[in-house]
Symmetry: C2
Subunit: 171 residues, 2 copies
């Protein structure tokens, strides 16, 4: 059966060191709670990628989500990131860091915003909603994220990603 | 089978007079195209409401969407609107107009944003995505809207709406 899940934010701040493979003594001595949270669930879905990750994100400044994407890239997952040019220039953006790590990044040249906030894992799981990938949104805003495996949604989002990817080709 | 549909924006500007029940000679003499568009589809889904419409919207300034909501209110559909206080104060917001028309409106008192952008039609169809209900977003941005009838998504969004509705109760 296709996975159908909804995450609501704001998320409590929980320790994500184990999820992100950061070396720590066991049990982790940090003062944060170590239980489940919407952010931990979002990270777990992303980190389930084995082959490909398409990211189409208006804003991307969350350090935890940035580390998750870098981890997938190091594991050999093919990561492609489309983002909005206006937001990319802001301080705190993860986009420059990801590009330096060797991840393919393209951005719009348009007057309107590239306002999507979605990810596609292994071409079969769509992660989409109102949540921009910023610490402000994760910790302070009321936001939603849907985890979707129904082809009726995944396929059109994949096609939208490929359209934008080609359109933003600088070549 | 549950309806599963995705709308992508920006939407071409099309005539919405017939959808919104505005009196016009037939065929409509206005210079706009009269075919289908993502905005026309969104309006049609909203206007299918017969009993209830829950709206949970960060930003609401689109005149066409405002007219659709007023039309539903006049038809006797029970409309409830939750919105973000910061955005509500901006000029061009439809919220004051809807409140004057007798529609129940509640807004947050919080520091974080109420950043959702969803609607629930007759407690069985969820309309959610990245799209703020503004003309800028509809006509200029890359945005997505999902039309969803699967209970695994509709039920948690309804519960989230009721939670927020109670929490924002000024009484
Ligand atoms: Zn820890
Ligand atoms: Zn017309």
């Amino acid at each position: 059966a296709p996975r159908r899940e909804v995450l609501f934010f704001p998320s409590p701040v929980t320790c994500t060191a184990a999820l992100l493979g950061e070396p720590r003594p066991a049990p982790c001595p940090c003062p944060l709670p170590h239980g489940d949270s919407p952010l931990a669930r979002l990270l777990r879905r992303l980190l389930s990628a084995r082959r490909s990750l398409e990211l189409c994100l208006f804003a991307f400044s969350s350090p935890q989500l940035g580390r998750a994407v870098q981890l997938l890239h190091r594991r050999g997952v093919r990561v492609r990131l489309v983002t909005d040019a206006d937001y990319m220039a802001l301080s705190g953006s993860q986009v420059g860091r990801l590009r330096q790590a060797g991840i393919q990044v393209r951005h719009d040249q348009e007057s309107g915003y590239m306002h999507h906030k979605f990810a596609i894992v292994d071409k079969k799981m769509l992660i989409t909603g109102s949540l921009n990938w910023t610490t402000q949104a994760i910790q302070n805003n009321r936001e939603n994220v849907l985890i979707v495996e129904d082809a009726e949604y995944v396929e059109p989002f994949l096609a939208e990603f490929e359209r934008i990817w080609e359109e933003y080709n600088p070549a």
